[in-house]
């Protein structure tokens, strides 16, 4: 029985068909984009939306994390936001406390530095492990989608 693969048109034909389709779709695409632009111009809330969007982008850039998809909310609740600065400073506080406690106990400064170094290595190791798993997950996902 004739297989589907052999029944389909030659590859060159398929490419030519896609090219011809692209030629026909070019004015359609342009018209649709222009219609979308007109639709946005006529929308009375569009200016406010763009202003909110720019403001949200500035907040995001300043390190404010916004946890919901409608991120253009100009006044997000402070309880749902954590600044990157706070996270970094909390790590710095823990490290400083560690060094001070070690110094109070009379530990040699070289040992303290070595301890901190080991802690940092552990953090890097864990991060690398997480990243590897993330990459693997992404590869799996790509396999599934393709």
């Amino acid at each position: 029985m004739k297989s589907f693969r052999s029944a389909r048109p030659a590859e060159a034909d398929a490419e030519a068909q896609v090219a011809a389709l692209a030629q026909r779709m070019a004015p359609v695409h342009q018209a649709l984009i222009e219609a979308q632009a007109r639709r946005a111009e006529l929308d009375p809330t569009n200016e406010k939306r763009i202003a909110n969007l720019v403001q949200a982008a500035k907040k995001r850039q300043a390190g404010t994390f916004i946890h919901h998809s409608h991120a253009a909310d100009p006044d997000p609740s402070p309880t749902t936001n954590t600044t990157f600065f706070l996270r970094i400073s909390s790590i710095a506080v823990v490290m400083t406390a560690f060094i001070i406690v070690a110094a109070i106990h009379g530990t040699d400064i070289v040992e303290v530095v070595t301890g901190v170094q080991l802690a940092l290595y552990s953090i890097v190791d864990v991060t690398r492990h997480v990243l590897e798993r993330s990459t693997q997950h992404r590869t799996d996902r790509k396999d599934v989608s393709s």
Binding site: M1, R8, A14, A57, R141
Partner: protein
């Protein structure tokens, strides 16, 4: 040119194209969310973006993939497929038709556009992206490779896959497959 535009003008210029791409990928309602997230990422760096349409599309794909990954994680082991994406409801179709009418398209153009959109939506996200570039942006293989961040060889393979899938989904191919339902269905998936 881009550097002379204000942020608001930049958004107004590139937003419609981004929205159209996002609508093809995830349907109208989710496209609004994708557009918002992509533009928030874009605004701080619009001066450094050299090819805005391409950057916006690539970022939109990242946002969509992030969203899919979240859904995938929530399913706890369920297999993620492109059918998780929305975009095939009657409301979406009605909105697409209204949009075509607003654009002043003829009935033939509208019918062909809706056909193409329906065909592209049968593809997985990456092939859908390639199909969009080929059909609507008239992109070359080099341009597609640059946008997807892969080699031209890979793009050629993707284009072949997209061509096969689009050809298989065409009405005449479907009719031919319907004559041989079991064999056509099995081999169509493996092709």
């Amino acid at each position: 040119m881009t550097s002379e535009l204000t942020t608001e003008e930049w958004i107004r210029l590139y937003e419609p194209g981004l929205l159209m791409f996002a609508r093809l990928q995830v349907g109208y309602h989710q496209a609004e969310d994708v557009r918002q997230e992509v533009l928030i990422r874009a605004v701080p760096r619009i001066r450094s973006i050299t090819d805005p349409p391409s950057w916006l599309r690539a970022t939109a794909m990242n946002v969509i993939n992030d969203e899919l990954r979240k859904k995938f994680a929530l399913k706890r082991g369920g297999r993620q497929t492109h059918t998780d994406l929305a975009g095939d409801t009657i409301a979406e179709l009605a909105d697409d038709m209204a949009w075509c009418a607003e654009a002043g398209l003829s009935l033939e153009q509208t019918a062909e556009y809706l056909d193409v959109i329906a065909l592209l939506r049968t593809l997985p996200p990456q092939l859908r992206h390639v199909g969009y570039l080929l059909v609507f942006e008239q992109a070359t293989q080099a341009e597609v490779a640059r946008e997807l961040g892969c080699s031209q060889t890979n793009v050629a393979k993707l284009i072949k896959k997209a061509n096969v899938a689009l050809t298989a989904a065409r009405p005449e191919a479907r009719t031919e497959t319907a004559k041989r339902p079991q064999q056509g269905a099995t081999e169509g998936r493996t092709a």
